[in-house]
Structures are given as structure tokens and as C-alpha cells.
Amino acid sequence: MAEEIRIPKLGMSATEVTLSEWMFGEGEQVAKGDIIYTAETDKTTVEIEAQASGAIHPTGEEGTKYKVGDVIGTIG
């Protein structure tokens, strides 16, 4: 089953997170634990790790602000 990649909550007051950069392109293989993208709030930049292994399908746009919980891609 495909695993959704959703925007995580990155702090007490964070409701919006900017998707800064994808580390993998469409269809590339990722392993659980690989850093798949970086996310930014007004306070911090965080590297987000894959929580599943498989082919990645990024749908979120780099440089765009998303709400916590928004789906920005899938794995598998």
C-alpha cells in the first residue's frame, strides 16, 4: 500500500510549513530513514526521513507553503 507523505507539525505554533527541497525525483527508490525532503518554518529547517521504502512520487511543489497534514507525495 502506498504510504502518504504528509506535512508534519514542526513546533508548538507551527501551522504552516514550507516544502524547501526534494532530495529525490519522481520514481526514484528511497529506503526508510533516507532524508527525502527539507521543510522550513519561521523558526527552523528540518530534514524529513522516509518512513517507508519504495518508489517515491513527490507531488508537493518546492518553495510552497503547506498546512500541517497536507499530502505532498507518496512512497510505494
Binding site: E3, I5, I7, P8, K9, L10, G11, T41, Q51
Partner: protein
């Protein structure tokens, strides 16, 4: 104290290992859910501090009292809080220990002795005195253990509570988990004290500083501290040296931690060290892996239960706030 410590018996060691892995697997699962964006709550990671919590809880009796902080997952799960209720509370669901109205920073479950969890730094310390004083008055033989951080040791309430607890010989154990940082401030930048344990002398109290990454140091120290308090000899301040291996909370970066600190932290990771001790004491790889697999299965079930559970009803907002008078 630790030099003369006898070997921890095998059953106790297995108990500590099981509690440690329960804390660790819960922490890993929580970070996974947060990274996936499946769960959006505040969570203060306990990676690196699992053994301290597990050893402390293993030294207590089931009906002893515990007071902890926002970074209290370790004490809560290691003390044996029912994990379905724990996950329910963390996810804000009606099935939680506080009916989903407390959340991760206010986990409370008196049935397992988790008396209060607070997010106000240092505030648990005087509260622990109150619980210990009640036990002293009632003669119920309980010990209260309060866990707090190195940063909390600079709060006024810490000093007041230390002085009072020693004066009245309260049955309380003060466990300072010195993870070397208070939020983003390193230990040396928030105090000139060489350590926290020595401060006990200023109150005439027994105090020690111990390696929280070595089961053969931390457990005997906790056991002795709890016994001292239970015998009516008064409180003990135990400073457990450990590392916070993640940022202050999930999602906060830790680029301010110097390279040498990160390297030192990795070398001192309590989990591989504990595993090594277990193998030396003739536990098998299979036995140890089975324990972790069983814990994982239990956690997965509890997480699913919490994800499926309902949110509290809106009329719950007015319940459990003021005492109902007839």
C-alpha cells in the same frame, strides 16, 4: 556508592531491559508518526534518556508516586501506564488517561502512580513534596519520585523544595536528568555549578551524580536512593548524566550542538551498552529481539486503537474543571 554495588540480579536486569525498550520503541513510533504527518501534536523526544527512566521506574514499587515533565514518556511507559490509554491521551482522544483533554504534556494516571505531568519547568518538584508529605502523614510507605531536567535545577522552586524536603525528611527522590541542555542552552551556559548532585550538600541532603548510560551505575544508585527515602532517612538528589540525542522537541533542529558533543553522545548511547551487558549476562540475541518484537506489536495495536478512537465530546469542556457541589 556505585563502586561497592553488587551485580544486578538477572530478573531485575531483564525487567530494566524490557522497560528501556518499551520507552525506546514508543519514542521511535512517535517520531515515525510525526514524520509521516499522521499525528500533529507536540512531542519531546526521549532518545538517549531511556535507560535513566527505566532504571528509576524499576527501582520503585508499583504504587509509588511519580511526577514528571513534558519529556515524561520514559517515566510514564516504564512505570506501566496502560499504553492504549497513553496513546489515546497523546492523540487527544476520548479513550485517553485524561479523556483526551490533557495531551502529551499533561499525562496523569493515578492508578499507575503517574500523579501529574507538567510543562511548567521546575513546577513538579514542590508538588512531589506535597505527595511525599501526604504519604508521611498517612504512613502508607510510598516513595514519590520526581523527574526534571538540568535547566529546572535553576528554578527557585527547586531550591525551596530541596530545603523543605530535607528539613521534614520527606520520602522523596529528586531525579535530575542532566541531558546537558535546557532547550538550546548548554549546561555550562546556564550554571557555574560543576554538577547538580553536589548541590544537595547545601541542604544537608544526600546527593550523587551518576552515569545514566550505564545500567550498572544508574540502577544501584536509584535502588539505594529509593530505599533511603523509604526507610524514613529523608530525600535524595540523584543527578543522572545522560544525553538528549534529538532536538528539544520533535521538529526543532539541533545545529547548535557542537560536533564533539554529538560524537561523545553517540559513543555513550545507552542502548548498545545495555545490549552488551545483557549478552554478557547470558541473555540470547533471540530472547532480546523477541522482547522488542512483542513490544512493537503491542504499540502498533495501541496506536491503531488511538487513531480509530473518537475525539472527546464538546460538552467535556466543562467537565472535570470545577468540583461539583450538590
Amino acid at each position: 556508592m556505585a563502586e561497592t554495588a553488587k551485580e544486578i540480579d538477572r530478573d531485575k536486569l531483564l525487567d530494566i531491559y524490557t522497560r528501556t525498550m518499551k520507552v525506546n520503541r514508543t519514542d521511535e513510533k512517535f517520531r515515525e508518526l510525526l514524520m509521516q504527518g499522521k499525528v500533529a501534536v507536540m512531542y519531546y523526544c526521549v532518545r538517549g534518556q531511556e535507560l535513566v527512566s527505566a532504571a528509576a521506574m524499576a527501582a520503585l514499587e508499583d504504587d509509588d508516586y511519580v511526577v514528571c515533565t513534558y519529556r515524561g514518556q520514559g517515566e510514564q511507559t516504564a512505570k506501566g501506564i496502560p499504553i492504549k490509554k497513553w496513546w489515546g491521551e497523546c492523540l487527544g482522544k476520548a479513550t485517553g488517561t485524561c479523556k483526551g483533554k490533557g495531551g502529551t504534556m499533561h499525562i496523569t494516571d493515578p492508578d499507575t502512580g503517574i500523579m501529574v505531568t507538567t510543562g511548567v519547568v521546575g513546577s513538579g518538584i514542590p508538588i512531589a513534596n506535597g505527595l511525599a508529605m501526604a504519604s508521611q502523614n498517612n504512613g502508607d510507605g510510598r516513595v514519590t519520585l520526581v523527574s526534571f531536567g538540568d535547566g529546572a535545577a535553576n528554578i527557585g522552586g527547586f531550591h525551596e523544595a530541596m530545603n523543605m524536603a530535607q528539613l521534614y525528611k520527606l520520602p522523596v527522590v529528586f531525579l535530575c536528568q542532566n541531558n546537558r541542555y535546557g532547550e538550546h542552552t548548554a549546561f555550562a551556559d546556564h550554571t557555574d555549578s560543576p554538577n547538580i548532585g553536589e548541590r544537595a550538600a547545601g541542604y544537608g541532603m544526600k546527593g550523587i551524580t551518576v552515569d545514566g548510560n550505564d545500567v550498572n551505575q544508574i540502577y544501584p544508585a536509584m535502588e539505594e536512593a529509593v530505599a533511603h527515602a523509604r526507610r524514613g532517612k529523608g530525600p535524595v538528589l540523584v543527578e543522572a548524566m545522560c544525553y538528549r540525542m534529538m532536538g528539544h522537541f520533535f521538529g526543532s533542529d539541533f545545529s547548535y550542538m557542537p560536533e564533539e558533543h554529538l560524537a561523545e553522545m553517540k559513543a555513550e548511547d545507552p542502548l548498545p551498552k545495555l545490549r552488551k551487558v545483557m549478552l554478557e549476562r547470558q541473555f540470547t540475541e533471540e530472547e532480546l529481539d523477541k522482547i522488542v518484537a512483542d513490544i512493537d506489536a503491542e504499540i502498533d495495536e495501541a496506536v491503531q486503537h488511538a487513531l480509530d478512537a473518537p475525539l472527546p465530546d464538546t460538552d467535556e469542556i466543562y467537565k472535570d474543571v470545577l468540583e461539583e457541589t450538590a
